[in-house]
């Protein structure tokens, strides 16, 4: 009889420890699930801010209607990215904190229409001390090497090309052109869009992975052991991830200062440029109306007087919605 009691008590203690263990792991799981989503959103916002800071050079009033002329200057992207991350985590924006965040930026690539930058550690002298700083490398072109040693660098948003043809010894002749046809007619090189895209994707993936592998050997971060994989153009019949417009991709992972557990979760923030549709105010029959760009016929467009960023702004300035234009599908 006594043994039964002892047995029952031990069983009770075991069950209690199971329940306590379950409670502990439930609490951890809730926290981890929240933190993963939270990190995801932070990296999203940080990448967006970083991308916007790259576009800030140049007169965007004109270039939004012509994506080719957008000026991209990626100098401030990484510092803006780290600022947003630090502010979201309620960390102070001190040098030490921002340098510490370098450890969690696994890789990044900034894609523009005629080249790409890869994020890497570069030696830098700060206050006389030789340290490594996370910066964009040199811009690399989208070049394909053809038989005979010719290399052609392509621009992805238009059909511009630059050809370097070896001409005896170590000399090269340089040719440029505006259309792929000219390349074929003058130099016999066929520029295949699918080939170019494949090469571009392959180069970018290889470069980013090479950087990540090299950085992995310099410090102990488990997340770097796996590569960042960008699926190539051939993933679907329609093509996945075609690089057509300026884009920014940054991968963050292995975060261990958020919450009580290390997140081996990796998240990638990516942004690309899209044409923004503005609200245009115009005068018709003495009344001031507004409608979206692309809905207004060209003859009326010539009389446009104001440009707004949103319908609220237009309404505040006293313009009325033009119901006939605005209800058209774009």
């Amino acid at each position: 009889m006594k043994y039964a009691t002892v047995f029952a008590s031990m069983l009770g203690v075991m069950m209690l420890s199971y329940i306590v263990g379950t409670h502990y792991y439930t609490a951890k799981a809730h926290e981890k699930a929240f933190n993963e989503v939270y990190l995801n959103k932070i990296v999203d916002y940080a990448t967006k801010a970083a991308f916007q800071s790259a576009l800030e050079g140049g007169d965007l009033g004109i270039s939004y209607t012509d994506l080719e002329n957008v000026k991209i200057d990626p100098v401030n992207t990484i510092s803006t990215f780290k600022d947003i991350m630090a502010l979201s985590f309620d960390m102070s924006l001190s040098e030490e904190n921002l340098d510490m965040l370098d450890n969690y930026l696994l890789g990044g690539v900034f894609i523009t229409s005629n080249g790409y930058y890869v994020l890497d550690m570069h030696p830098e002298t700060k206050n006389g001390v030789q340290t490594n700083e996370l910066k964009w490398g040199l811009k690399k072109p989208y070049s394909i090497e053809y038989t005979g040693g010719s290399r052609v660098a392509y621009d992805l948003s238009s059909e511009k090309w630059t050809l370097l043809k070896p001409s005896g010894g170590t000399n090269f002749m340089m040719y440029t052109g505006e259309k792929h046809n000219a390349l074929f007619q003058d130099h016999g090189i066929v520029a295949n869009r699918a080939d170019i895209m494949n090469t571009v994707n392959r180069k970018i993936t290889n470069d980013v992975n090479a950087v990540m592998v090299r950085r992995n050997s310099s410090f102990n971060n488990d997340a770097l052991k796996n590569y960042l994989y960008l699926p190539s153009m051939e993933a679907t019949t329609g093509g996945a991830n075609p690089v057509l417009k300026p884009s920014l991709l940054i991968a963050v992972g292995g975060v261990d200062f958020l919450g009580s557990q290390k997140l081996s979760y990796r998240t990638v923030g990516g942004y690309t440029l899209a044409k923004r549709v503005r609200v245009i105010g115009f005068d018709q029959g003495g009344v001031r109306y507004y409608a979206f760009e692309g809905q207004i016929p060209n003859d009326v467009l010539g009389r446009a007087t104001n440009f707004f960023n949103s319908t609220e702004e237009a309404a505040k300035a006293g313009f009325k919605p033009h119901l006939e234009y605005i209800s058209q599908a774009k």
Binding site: L16, K41, K48, S88, D90
Partner: protein, 150 residues
């Protein structure tokens, strides 16, 4: 007679296993849900406000109402940070953020909006943990920052 401690102990054990634990699990789950909902609401607010580049009282009221509707009691603080760049003596440029008023103003591109949400209520899970275990895991809080874009 000498059996009392064992009997009391086993009753306590039964109570904790069969009554408290399920309660605690259920309360923790609802607390986690309201935290997650609060995060979603803050994200929607930031998306709206950074696209418009203005923060009106109506936006703030919407945010406060949505966060109150999650079921928890949260304190929400919305800040606008403007970016200042200064040149240091060693010719490097240092960028700082300064908190400024935002009601009735149009924010410039590059300004940041920071929302901090702190849990100031006593959720049932916290209360239970405190009364039974004297365990206090601190306030739940998070911040989210977004930059105003074009």
């Amino acid at each position: 007679m000498f059996d009392y401690p064992a009997k009391v102990f086993s009753i306590l054990l039964i109570f904790m296993m069969c009554a408290l634990s399920p309660f605690l699990s259920a309360y923790m789950e609802s607390e986690a849900l309201s935290n997650r909902l609060a995060l979603n609401e803050v994200e929607m607010f930031l998306d709206k406000v950074t696209d418009k580049a203005t923060i009106t009282q109506a936006d703030l009221d919407d945010l406060y109402l949505a966060i109150a509707a999650t079921g928890g009691i949260y304190d929400v603080e919305v800040k606008r940070l403007i970016r200042l760049s200064t040149k240091l003596p060693d010719d490097s440029v240092r960028t700082l953020y300064l908190s400024q008023d935002y009601i009735g103003e149009t924010m410039k591109s590059g300004d940041l909006v920071k929302v901090t949400v702190t849990d100031i209520g006593l959720t049932p899970a916290k209360r239970l943990k405190w009364y039974v275990l004297r365990l206090d895991e601190g306030k739940f809080h998070f911040s989210l920052t977004a930059s105003v874009g074009r």
